[in-house]
């Protein structure tokens, strides 16, 4: 009961403070630009001598790049909107009126986490679904496994959310935001290094990429999502930066799930144990 009350109030807070609407507005702006770009590209390709199968691959690659933008927007939005919820309420003392109610501390934390999970789900569904629909409507292309891809992007957001919550039980809003975004940056760089290693078959570069994925598996989840969504031909011909050069395994997805659960468990434990 307490968990769902906290989840509801967290979701309502995001809506009432216009966080959700602002993020959605920015996302819709992206969809408009992406739709216009797709339409122009399709028109240009139709007026050119490019063979139809190649046109399809180019539009597919464009769709993947659009979905990568959705992925980045969703992860950053998740981090920025949730970073203040634990640390900010501890600093301001707002938490005192809640933590003295007949609730276990884990109910407060998990309730807030669920509220943000719900908000992130709405956000990813609208943006990801919108980008996929635009790809189909304007370009006639469909991601190979859009549901799998969408779930992996959602999982990536939840990993970022859990890490943000974990640091929020220790540090101030600013510090936990800086650490989480820093980790996402490291994962971003590591992912690209691992991708680059595939072109040169450099094992040392690949090792750096794998290590960064173990430290923060967010980018690995995106590359797995890209693999699931790209057409096999497009991936093999390396039409997009996310072609099948270095594909994170299913074990990495399992690792990311375990990673987020551990981060959440640490957050629950530390929030329950600390003085408020």
């Amino acid at each position: 009961m307490g968990v769902w009350l906290m989840a509801g109030i967290t979701f309502r807070e995001a809506a009432r403070k216009k966080i959700l609407w602002t993020a959605l507005l920015a996302g819709l702006g992206f969809l408009v630009v992406f739709g216009i770009g797709l339409r122009f590209q399709v028109g240009d390709l139709q007026n050119s001598q490019v063979p139809p199968f190649l046109r399809y691959q180019v539009i597919s690659a464009m769709l993947i790049i659009g979905l990568y933008t959705v992925d980045l927007l969703a992860v950053v939005m998740t981090t920025l909107t949730s970073v203040d919820t634990i640390s900010g309420e501890i600093t301001s003392g707002t938490i005192h009126a809640i933590a003295t109610k007949p609730l276990h501390r884990w109910e407060i934390l998990i309730g807030k986490w669920l509220g943000f999970v719900l908000m992130t789900a709405v956000y990813v569904a609208i943006l990801f679904g919108g980008a996929v629909a635009e790809g189909y409507y304007f370009g006639g292309v469909m991601a190979q496994h859009p549901v799998r891809g969408g779930l992996l992007v959602f999982l990536e957001c939840i990993v970022a959310l859990s890490v943000t919550f974990m640091f929020g039980t220790w540090f101030s809003t600013l510090t936990s935001g800086v650490i989480t975004l820093g980790l996402l940056g490291v994962a971003f760089l590591g992912g690209w290094l691992e991708q680059m290693s595939g072109f040169t078959e450099g094992s040392r570069l690949a090792m750096v990429g794998i290590l960064t994925s173990l430290i923060m598996p967010s980018e690995a989840l995106w590359r797995r999502a890209a693999f699931e969504m790209e057409s096999p031909l497009s991936g093999a011909l390396q039409f997009s930066p996310f072609s099948d050069v270095s594909i994170p395994s299913g074990a990495m997805v399992g690792y990311a799930c375990a990673y987020l659960l551990v981060a959440l468990a640490i957050a629950v434990y530390h929030f329950g144990d600390r003085d408020l």
Binding site: K17, G93, H96, A97, I98, T100, P102, L103
Partner: protein
């Protein structure tokens, strides 16, 4: 209870008991450990040593919190809520039924004087209005014990009067009120028992209904007070100040009062007024805590 933050002792050795149904004043200078002690009693902070029980259960027990109300110092809450939404949320967190809340919320909003502002969001509230909303959320579930941490710090005189009435009404309902305030005059007219703490230890306590036993100030108006008469008072007093017909006497004990009065009359003084003064809480506070040491 004891609480240490790093190497700093916030509460050294706090031992106290509060009777059910009384208004308990918790006094001390800044940094005495009052808020930390309240946090430990509410389960917001864990004691480094010792233990406490509230309503018969260990401090912080989740079930017992259904019977506890708390107004934090500088109450803050989600600013996008209206007072009614705030009370509904806190009521539901305390397990109050929707039917009960539909009656209780408007009544409480009225009680704390927020009816004209019931549709405004908290972000538009002054400090005093937030304090009123915070007081209402502390009472929403009709708790058995209410912790009020500086409940009148942001209120005007009318607001303070309202809080006093509410505290008394809660005591009459049977609730215990644990009151932390710097406004000693209010504590004095409201509380049944007070304790003074310094550096996390109880320095002294006072039962506000018990007869005075310690040194008593006597306010005397009398004529024909001779120097010899003043000297003769020394056997029952620690100090005597004379200003024309006004004399202030610090008597050794309440038991000395008849002897002093008898002596004054037999010494030829014309006594118009002889009024024993109970030491005010403020005087007691200063005598117990000493001068301001920059806490």
């Amino acid at each position: 209870m004891r609480k240490v933050f790093g190497g700093k002792v916030a509460v050294r050795d706090l031992t106290l008991s509060v009777r059910r149904g009384e208004i308990f004043g918790f006094l001390g200078p800044n940094g005495a450990g009052k808020s930390t002690s309240i946090k430990m009693l509410l389960g917001l902070a864990k004691p480094s040593g010792g233990e406490a029980s509230v309503l018969g259960a260990p401090a912080g027990n989740v079930e017992v919190r259904k019977k506890i109300g708390f107004l934090p110092e500088n109450f803050r809450f989600y600013e996008w809520l209206t007072p009614a939404e705030l009370l509904h949320l806190h009521g539901r967190l305390c397990g109050v039924s929707s039917a009960r809340l539909s009656q209780r919320v408007p009544a409480l909003i009225d009680l704390v004087g927020l009816t004209p502002h019931s549709n405004k969001r908290l972000q538009n509230f002054s400090k005093g209005m937030m304090q009123r909303a915070g007081l209402a959320q502390a009472l929403i579930h009709e708790p058995d014990i209410i912790f009020l941490d500086e409940p009148t710090s942001g209120l005007d005189p009318l607001g303070r009067h309202m809080v006093r009435d509410i505290i008394r009404a809660e005591r009459d309902r049977g609730a215990t009120v644990f009151l932390n305030s710097h406004l000693l005059s209010e504590i004095e007219i409201t509380c049944d028992q007070v304790v003074f703490i310094r550096e996390g230890e109880v320095v002294t306590s006072r039962d506000m209904h018990a007869p005075e036993e310690e040194v008593v100030n006597i306010d005397v108006r009398a004529g024909k007070i001779s120097p010899d008469c003043v000297w003769g008072l020394a056997r029952w007093t620690t100090a005597v100040e004379v200003n024309e017909e006004h004399m202030t006497i610090k008597a050794l004990s309440r038991a000395c009062l008849p002897d002093i009065l008898r002596y004054l009359v037999t010494s030829g003084a014309e006594v118009y007024q002889f009024t024993p003064q109970r030491m005010s809480l403020e005087e007691l506070f200063i005598s117990v805590m000493g001068e301001d040491r920059g806490f």
